[in-house]
């Protein structure tokens, strides 16, 4: 073997030479991509997604003195109000109620804030919808992403509370938070993509959603325990089945199980169960998995509905 030096030719200077066409893929513009192609495209545009999330947060708190503190103050105030009401006015007897409430509220805030903003996102950004071509489904997803940032900020507050009260969490259930959170994001994005498309044609959607979220909040065990409903003999059976169909329920429960970590509490002469009694982490995971499948179906359905009506967005806005 002769040691012939074969230097690769110097790469041409980017400023001096450019191949005439670097991207030679042909796109059919007139046919909207399918839901799975859209998912892949969301991934390709992840940098824009991050940029939009950052913009949404930045713009929201620009020119406000407290800035990001607001995203902590808002749930903190909720917490104080609920804590005062359900500890003193309408005592429900749940010990360390603040921790219990916060572990559920964390989930709910992500869902309701993300979904609410996602639903308004297309109408709110009509300016760029009409003038710029980009994957529009990224807007509702970015709203959910902004909700996720708030989730983490509020998580820090919860963490502080746990340390302060020296609350023992359930470490063996803690990993459930990851699949539960992922499922929650898929659900919020799926509903959000569907509703934001509907909202373009029917602006009532936004207002209707506010009411729906209010009812939904009380139908989810956040300020009371799951077992108060399920164990109550006065509540008819069919309602309990309906109650269990709430997908958010199966996200809230593992959070409560892992963070609040009390399966029951006793009042004089009576034992109150909090969570489904003898459930192992796998029992929770199985339910999360079912919700994930449902959520994914909603996401795909939402994306394909979005794709079908998207072509007229620029005209309708």
């Amino acid at each position: 073997m002769s040691a012939v030096e074969t230097d690769p030719p110097d790469p041409p200077d980017a400023d001096e030479w450019r191949p005439p066409v670097r991207d030679d893929d042909e796109y059919v513009v007139s046919v909207p991509p399918g839901p799975f192609a859209r998912l892949a495209r969301l991934w390709r545009y992840r940098e824009l997604l991050v940029g939009l999330v950052r913009t949404e947060l930045k713009v929201k708190y620009k020119n406000s003195v407290l800035g990001f503190m607001w995203s902590l103050l808002n749930p903190a105030l909720y917490l104080v109000v609920f804590w005062v009401v359900f500890t003193y006015f309408l005592p429900n007897g749940i010990p360390q109620f603040a921790i219990f409430l916060m572990s559920g509220l964390l989930v709910w805030n992500l869902f309701s804030l993300g979904l609410g903003n996602a639903t308004g996102s297309i109408v709110a950004n009509s300016g760029i919808i009409k003038k710029v071509s980009f994957p529009r489904e990224i807007l509702p997803v970015a709203s959910v992403g902004a909700g996720l940032v708030h989730f983490f900020l509020q998580g820090i507050v919860l963490l502080g509370a746990l340390v302060l009260f020296q609350h023992p969490v359930a470490w063996n259930y803690m990993w459930l938070i990851i699949p539960a959170l992922l499922t929650l994001l898929v659900l919020a994005a799926g509903f959000g993509i569907f509703l934001t498309a509907v909202n373009v044609y029917l602006r009532d959607t936004q207002h209707f959603l506010e009411l729906l979220l209010l009812a939904w909040f009380w139908m989810t065990p956040i300020v009371y325990t799951y077992r108060t409903v399920v164990d109550n003999p006065k509540i008819p059976h069919f309602f309990k089945i309906l109650y269990k169909m709430n997908p958010i329920l199966w996200i809230v429960l593992p959070f409560q199980r892992a963070i609040y970590n009390r399966t029951y509490f006793d009042t004089p002469g009576l034992r109150h169960w909090v969570t489904p009694a003898p459930a192992s982490p796998w029992w929770y995971l199985a339910r999360i998995a079912v919700v994930f499948v449902v959520g994914f179906a909603i996401l795909i359905g939402g994306l394909s509905f979005f794709g079908r009506v998207e072509g007229n967005f620029a005209e309708e806005l």
Partner: protein, 408 residues
């Protein structure tokens, strides 16, 4: 030849309803009775744009040219037909469309760039170019809402042209900023062309098409009426524009017949006679005769007939009068005709309005004045550019050089 954009049989229908019913109540109330009229903004458009060419889409307002561009950009979806594009595309439909006024210039460069589909790494390496191009080094960390509209537009353009698209779609935005910036924009367009990129530009500025385009298509009421060379396209565009024009450029309204006349002398008619009567326009170098009829109701001892030619923007091109040209200044009585003859119109492209008037020779009394009462059009069939066809000859003398057999 590979096509960067192919448009096949594309039609676009808009539903025009008197009002949009977007609330549930309105939808229910108007359910099934929503009255709308169909409006076809595009009808069966076929257009192939080859890679590396610059193509202008010409048309008057409402011709569908912007709708076609939006369909190509993927912002609107055609009702029927197919559009294929090749390569990365950037659309400049409105400068600064993706910008958020609350963010700083720097943040907007990244946001706008990523909306156009470019990565942070791409943008990092081009950031200085972009800011330099926009000439906003000092203000880049200020919120965009404090920018002047010129700064706003410069930043938007700078992002769009620096992000390296294969196909650039532009909607009448090349004319932004001051003259120096415009020249910079045109230079960048030229550079794009040299790099083999494809540009589609929508405009109604015929000059621009002639200046930068390799080809052009003309749209009229949603139909593609012409595609071909820029020069011919401009002519076709003008023809269609004239067909749609309701105003009569031949004669002044014969209003003197019904009005009670208080003027001692007035213009009764104006006719333009073109050298080639078969055409509605002149070609540079042809002759034009302007005949002005007058009627004097009393004896006017001293009068002169004025003629003023403007360009489309209203700039004065030429002003003269019969007295200045050496004609007698009166007396005038009864009817008569004044004939102005341009033996050779040296003007290039454009519409040229004419004003006519009668006054005393010292311009102390203006008897009658018809502001821009008629116009003539000049269409330049060649690719020469400018305002005036200066009389010019050229000669090239080749001196024989002994180069063996090199010259065949």
């Amino acid at each position: 030849m590979v096509n960067a954009v192919s448009v096949r049989g594309v039609s676009k229908m808009f539903r025009l309803s008197s009002e949009k019913h977007t609330s549930l109540k309105e939808k229910v109330v108007h359910f099934g009775r929503s009255t709308y009229t169909e409006f076809w903004a595009l009808q069966e458009i076929d257009l192939e744009i080859a890679q590396g060419t610059t193509v202008g889409l010409l048309g008057h307002n409402g011709s569908g040219k912007s709708t076609l561009l939006k369909c190509i950009a993927g912002i609107l979806q055609p009702t029927s037909g197919e559009i294929r594009t090749r390569g990365r595309m950037a659309a400049l439909l409105e400068l600064g469309a993706g910008m958020n006024p609350e963010l700083t210039g720097r943040e907007n460069v990244y946001l706008n760039g990523s909306i156009l589909g470019f990565s942070k790494k791409d943008l990092d390496s081009r950031f200085d170019d972009i800011v330099g191009f926009a000439e906003l080094e000092q203000f880049i960390d200020n919120q965009v809402k404090y920018y002047s509209s010129g700064m706003y537009v410069r930043l938007g353009f700078a992002v769009a042209v620096n992000v390296d698209p294969d196909v650039l779609l532009v909607d009448e935005v090349l004319a932004v900023g001051d003259e120096a910036f415009q020249r910079k924009c045109l230079d960048r367009v030229k550079q794009f062309q040299n790099e083999g990129r494809t540009i589609v530009v929508v405009t109604h500025a015929a000059d621009l098409v002639r200046k930068v385009c390799d080809g052009a298509a003309v749209l009229d009421h949603g139909n593609l009426v012409f595609k071909g060379s820029p020069g011919e396209a401009v002519r076709s565009f003008r023809d269609h524009l004239l067909l749609n024009d309701t105003y009569d450029d031949e004669e002044v309204e014969p209003q003197h017949k019904i009005t009670v006349n208080t003027k001692p002398i007035e213009i009764s008619y104006v006719t333009l006679e073109r050298e080639n009567v078969d055409r509605t326009y002149l070609v540079p170098g042809e002759s034009l005769v302007v005949r002005v009829g007058y009627e004097a109701f009393e004896e006017i001892p001293d009068a002169t007939f004025g003629l003023v030619v403007y360009d489309t923007e209203g700039n004065l091109i030429y002003s003269t009068s019969s007295a200045l040209l050496g004609s007698p200044t009166g007396p005038f009585f009864g009817t008569g005709e004044v004939t102005f003859t341009f033996d050779d119109i040296p003007l290039l492209d454009g519409n040229y309005p004419i004003s006519l008037g009668i006054s005393s020779t010292d311009w102390g009394v203006v008897y009658d004045w018809r502001e821009q009462c008629c116009q003539f059009e000049v269409v330049n069939p060649t690719s020469t550019q400018g305002l005036v066809a200066l009389p010019l000859r050229v000669e090239i003398q080749t001196h024989a050089v002994d180069k063996g057999t090199a010259v065949g």
